[in-house]
């Protein structure tokens, strides 16, 4: 018995040690699937490694909002917007903001409406001028308005290489603008300008011809090359022609016409010279025929037909054509068209 009494404290110690060991083992064997040091029981995101601050959940964008509560987990934002940013600081988070880069009121879904006409700037073709919804935020067209949109020729066109007026005497029996168009179009067709593009212009209209290739004397090149950019290089079996092509730079000359019919004088824009690409693209925005409302306008002697000539030159070794101002062939460009106008 004496032996048993003396061993008792040892049993107590062994018992306590066993308890401690078991406790340690239980910690060791607690499940931690994402191995973030927080057991699955206490981990709000047991399958995704995270930090203790967010109960074991990650915060990928480091904005203080755990990914599980973050509506924009990849973009740092603010807690009041559920972790989403508000780039323009208008109080509408980017995720709900129709215009995340422009500050606007909540009632407009975060989009601005600078002129307050009820048409949001992003849909407003005239964001600084009040207009109607039907006219895309622009005011209803008046003669003096300058509105650059599809179908309207800039009221201040880019400066032209040559400007030539066509006297009204060349047009016969004109009563409406339609009559001017008919006779002008006929003369242009006879000169093989088959693709005409119509624009409204102030109180009249403008007709744009497609870009054509001309020679240095302003005469159209042969049809094969007239409507393409490729410079004419065909060598007829002639030594002189070959030597000419070999030793003379084969620059490309290009031109397009804009015939403006208006009773207002034309003033030119100061926005710099036009580029060939712009002028090639211009006809794409026009209509195939004159607007019937404009065609019906009765002409007076105040209506003038003015031809704006846009000429470009592409030096043989250059990659881009440049605008020619002024044209070396002032007054010569229109001769064939006027000749056809005068034909009966």
């Amino acid at each position: 018995m004496k032996h048993n009494i003396c061993a008792f404290p040892y049993f107590i110690i062994v018992f306590l040690l066993s308890l401690t060991l078991l406790n340690s083992c239980s910690i060791l064997f607690q499940r931690d699937t994402d191995r973030d040091g927080i057991s699955d029981k206490s981990d709000a995101c047991p399958e995704t490694a995270g930090s203790k601050n967010y109960q074991g959940c990650p915060d990928s964008d480091g904005d203080g909002v755990a990914d599980k509560d973050d509506a924009c987990p990849d973009a740092a934002g603010m807690p009041e917007f559920q972790g989403c940013p508000d780039s323009d600081g208008d109080g509408v988070s980017d995720s709900n903001d129709g215009c995340p880069d422009a500050a606007g009121p909540k009632k407009n879904n975060g989009c601005p409406d600078s002129d307050g006409d009820g048409v949001l700037d992003k849909d407003d073709r005239c964001p600084d001028v009040k207009g109607t919804e039907a006219n895309n935020g622009c005011p209803e067209t008046t003669e003096a308005m300058i509105i650059k949109h599809k179908g309207a020729f800039p009221s201040e066109p880019p400066v032209a290489s040559d400007v030539q007026k066509i006297p009204n005497a060349h047009f016969k029996n004109i009563k409406t603008l339609q009559d001017i168009d008919t006779q002008l179009a006929k003369a242009l067709h006879k000169n093989k300008y088959t693709r005409l593009s119509y624009f409204t212009f102030k109180d009249g209209f403008a007709v744009v011809t497609q870009m054509e290739q001309i020679d240095k004397n302003a005469k159209p090149v042969i049809d094969k090359y007239r409507w393409i950019e490729q410079v004419q290089y065909d060598v007829s079996f002639s030594l002189s022609r070959y030597l000419e092509l070999l030793f003379n730079a084969q620059d490309g000359h290009y031109r397009c016409f804009v015939f403006v019919v208006s009773k207002n004088p034309i003033t030119f824009s100061n926005d710099g010279n036009p580029t060939k690409i712009e002028m090639v693209d211009l006809p794409k925005n026009g209509a195939t025929e004159i607007d019937p409302k404009i065609a019906a306008i009765k002409t007076t002697s105040q209506y003038k037909v003015t031809a704006l000539v846009y000429e470009f030159i592409k030096p043989e070794n250059a990659k881009v054509a440049s605008f020619v101002f002024p044209s070396a062939n002032q007054g010569k460009h229109l001769s064939p068209i006027i000749n056809k106008l005068n034909e009966k």
Partner: protein, 139 residues
């Protein structure tokens, strides 16, 4: 079959200098005409690039060998000479054609010269190797 190195070297040098002179004169004519307007540097850079490296090798070797008294005794394999000579002739004709054919291409002179580097470059590299062999192989 062997050929005297001195004769072979002279033939090769004549070929190169004759063609180089013709191409140079052609380039000069193009320069004083309006053809290279604004792009003269690019055109002459092309000329230097395609002609000068090989011409320099030939000229240097010619001068070095001329100062060597024993050159008249040396012989060269006829095949090595023919290979260097005809490959040079082919290369120089290609260079000449690049200039003369431009009017038929519809492209700009400088643009066509720049494009020609694609096919002239590899031929030039092979030619440089063949000419180097020619000068080394003399016995």
């Amino acid at each position: 079959m062997k050929i005297a190195f001195e004769i072979a070297q002279k033939k090769l040098a004549i070929l190169w200098f004759a063609f180089a002179a013709v191409i140079f004169l052609l380039m000069f004519a193009l320069t004083i005409s309006s053809k290279l307007n604004g792009f003269t540097k690019e055109a002459w850079a092309w000329f230097c690039q395609v002609i000068l490296p090989t011409l320099s090798i030939i000229a240097t070797a010619f001068v070095v060998n001329s100062n060597n008294g024993q050159i008249s005794d040396r012989m060269i394999d006829r095949f090595s000479f023919r290979l260097a000579f005809y490959l040079s002739l082919f290369y120089l004709l290609v260079i000449l054609m690049v200039i003369l054919i431009v009017p038929f291409t519809g492209k700009g002179m400088v643009e066509f010269m720049a494009e020609s580097n694609l096919y002239v470059g590899p031929v030039q590299a092979i030619l440089a190797a063949v000419i180097s062999i020619f000068f080394i192989k003399k016995t």
